[in-house]
Amino acid sequence: MNVRQWSRDLALGVRFALTGGREGWVRLLLTGVGVGLGVALLLLTTAIPNALAARDAREDARTDITFSWEDVPKGDDTILVANVSTTYHGANIRGREVEPDGPHAPAPPGVSKLPAPGEMVVSPALEELLASGEGRLLRERLPERIVGTIGESGLVGPAELVFVRGGEDLESRIDTAAAVARIDGFGDREPQPSEPWDPVLLLMVLVVFVVLLMPVGVFIATAVRFGGERRDRRLAALRLIGSDSRMTRRIAAGEALAGALLGLLFGAVFFLLARQLAGSVELLEISVYPSYLSPSPLLAVLVAVAVPAAAVLVTLLALRGVVIEPLGVVRLSRPARRRLWWRLLLPVVGLAMLAPMIGQGGDDGNFNQYLVTGGVVLLLVGVTALLPWVVETVVARLGAGPVSWQLAVRRLQVSSGSAARMVNGIAVAVAGAIALQMLFAGAESQYTRDSGKDLSRAQMSVRVPEGTALDTVAEEFRATEGVDAVYALSSTYANDRPGDEAELISEVTVGDCRTLREVAALPSCQDGDVFVVNGAAYDEATPELAKAGRTLWFDAAQDSPGEPTGWTVPGTLKEAQSVDDPTGMRRGGFLFTPSALPEGAEGAVSHEVFLGIDRSVPDAPEHVRNTAAAVDPYSEPSQWASVERSERFDSIRTGLFVGAACVLFLIGASLLVSQLEQLRERRKLLSALVAFGTRRRTLSLSVLWQTAVPIALGLALSMTVGLALGAVLLKMTAVPVVVDWVSVWSMTGFGAAVVLAVTLLSLPPLLRLMRPDGLRTE
């Protein structure tokens, strides 16, 4: 078999595909679209690492405030930068306040002219948000005049929300807030070797890739087989005019090749469209510029070579069990009985590969990516290998029923392989999606549970800078719309030795009697009292320190290099029982009423305001943030409510669901195509059945069963494998196994919807074919 002959036969096949008349074109188009969608997805996935790298590079280039930098002396080429980032409606907004020290001060990337105090430059997305009605409250928080937009070089994505505004007197804050720094240039001077990925995240990404790509592979394999029966007849005709069996196979492969090549073309177009679309889409707060999404040339070439090659191989493989004779195509009527052992081997080996990593995700887990990917792939491939066996075995045992059932079951018994092939794609997609959703849901519930905050009293907290009058701030928050409870707590630390020599450290909470009762059960309280708290978790220092006569040292204020203040533990120390504070924690240490606090200790006291939010007031958190920004722009309120987190999870779930839905849609389309083809094949038979009085209902139902039985089996199998895979993945991340039934049922529902849709869509042609015209032979 030489290359010239191969290429000649393949080319002949390509020509057949192109000159197949209307039917041929439709088939070619379907194959092209199917393969094209797969190719586009492949190209996108190969482009994602590049896109993320491009984002990282941008992020590095605008780095300003770091903890590791040494003090930069003030000069005419330095600039003061403060982090004034905020959150709006759950979206992060990167904010910077800048104050140049001199005329040569550097500007952040993308900012051509530094804004003066009272001015700001914003990213296009933020500008749009501020101008819209949706951004009204944010505009109150950011009232500065917009004097320009930030260019692409200063943004990591088109949808990123960024502002840079002019600041004043940042120097005074340089030590009190870590969020202010003096720098002489933007960009990371000492780029850290990129941090290893969070193992859980890495696992998710690996699984997502596998789950998305596997069905694509299955789909491409199915797509190149569209129009199989018709092709068979054409091939038989070729044999009749004298082509030998090998040539015929190569010509068939050539036809598949045509579809695959067209698919590559479509794929490139789809990819370019998706790339443009990606510029206007934000997923998980990540948006990318279309220009970032360029697949590495090597991977693109790989796709371009692998897809047509796979098409040829799949066709040759599919024709293995087929004898093409001049007078027709004979399928080996009784193919060897499907063996179970090697099919079971795949998922078992997959599980075995995953097993050693169970429980490694806790703290510093590291996953062997090859084992993980291999394991997941083997489990999912196991689905495709097991399904034909399951379908064959189950269908062979399906028994009596009405005529429609009998017709469908018998049909499936004769061709269980093709039925299984059709639903394989669905099975892999569903198995993967269920596993992934379990992983996401499990990981997510884990994170929410960890916060452990008591959300019944306070849902937000704001740090108030030292030296600010707490009462005034509390008053301002009380006046804020949507706030119905304000707890102002001040805290500092009391140590066994002054300054840095401290070994035993105890928490000190300062507040009036009313506020202190929020954190502990007090027997009695009046100003001047000091309490020692029992019952706090992990507090071993306090019993040691709370001995009458012992001298404790309070921290000095940071900005005044004064002496630490000493305090002697009095004999009148009252005992208090710790209760859940507004954050849901049990505090330990000492409780001081304001007048009991020794002179000089108040400088190091930090204040925090805990706020109860009236959830019925829309945008209450945004009102709080506005007030907080007015009090101190450099500290950001945190919101504890789990609402936002689960919203984010919802978006992941939605994304996955949409992805799975797309895959199911694709597979539904190919199911429909083969269903229609099969119906057309049987036109005569259908007419004959109608002639002797078969009800339309009977035949329609039989079409329904024919789709429903394999899909039901596929879903059952994929649910089993999906749940098993999900459980293993959760075990690997050391997260309690929770079945996400919502996604399980929604996937099942979607599978059922595909069955129904395919049946419904094949009904009109079925009814048309059932007209007696099929009986006309003349």
């Binding site: 009527s333 005529v403 002797f692 009085g693 078969t694 009800r695």
Partner: protein
């Protein structure tokens, strides 16, 4: 050939002045027909003359554009589709040239199919099917699929299927068209014998004289018009 509007006495199935066009092609242009119980009538004529259309109209598969068909005193034009389907299920039997056996079902299941469509239980239907298969000498094939039997055997299975409901009219459209002479003759012999034994009427569409020779009389269809030869001679 001047058929009257009133069906001839004792006629089981009568058609009068049928017209049917498929688009611009006229398939029937005033065809008439009648058959008595137990009678075998051959419908002959060149290709495209409208023989098959006449059979389809008589069997209630196709509704004629005009004209009347009476079966057992009932006017078919007044029946709706499901009534006509029910009629075909219970009173008529069909044998076609090919493409009629469901390839996935075994032979006995194929034969039992019309009974099952009528609601007979599977067991009972298959027992009756087997009786008929014996009569047509194909009971040895019961477990085989249609793809595994020869053309003549398959056609005999089809005849068994057509007769399993004890139909009063058997419609056969080129039943031997795909068979060689010997097999064709065997099928015709068994078919006419079985039909006569149950007093079923047979409408036999064929263009082969030797097949038509198994009939009691013939009707010639030419250009959509029928000529009942018995009335002329």
């Amino acid at each position: 050939m001047t058929a009257t509007a009133t069906p001839p006495a004792g006629s089981l199935l009568t058609a009068h002045d049928l017209r049917k066009a498929y688009g611009p092609t006229t398939a029937l242009d005033g065809a008439s027909f009648s058959i008595h119980p137990g009678e075998v009538v051959a419908v002959m004529g060149p290709s495209g003359s409208g023989k098959s259309t006449l059979l389809h109209c008589l069997a209630g598969i196709v509704t004629p554009d005009s004209g009347s068909i009476t079966y057992s005193g009932r006017e078919m034009a007044t029946m709706n589709d499901s009534q006509r389907s029910a009629l075909r299920r219970s009173e008529f039997g069909f044998v076609f040239q090919f493409g009629q056996l469901v390839p996935e079902l075994t032979c006995v299941e194929n034969v039992a199919l019309p009974l099952r469509l009528n609601g007979t239980s599977r067991k009972e239907a298959e027992r009756a099917a087997l009786t008929w298969m014996e009569r047509l000498e194909v009971d040895g094939l019961k477990g085989k699929r249609p793809g595994e039997v020869s053309g003549g055997q398959g056609q005999r299975v089809a005849v068994a299927r057509a007769l399993v409901t004890n139909p009063r009219v058997l419609f056969a459209d080129e039943p031997t068209g795909a068979l060689d002479s010997l097999n064709g003759e065997r099928v015709m012999e068994l078919l006419t014998e079985a039909a006569r034994s149950t007093n079923a009427a047979v409408v036999l569409v064929t263009h082969e004289a030797r097949v038509a020779a198994y009939s009691d009389r013939e009707v010639v269809v030419r250009d959509g018009k029928s000529r009942d030869m018995e009335r002329i001679v």
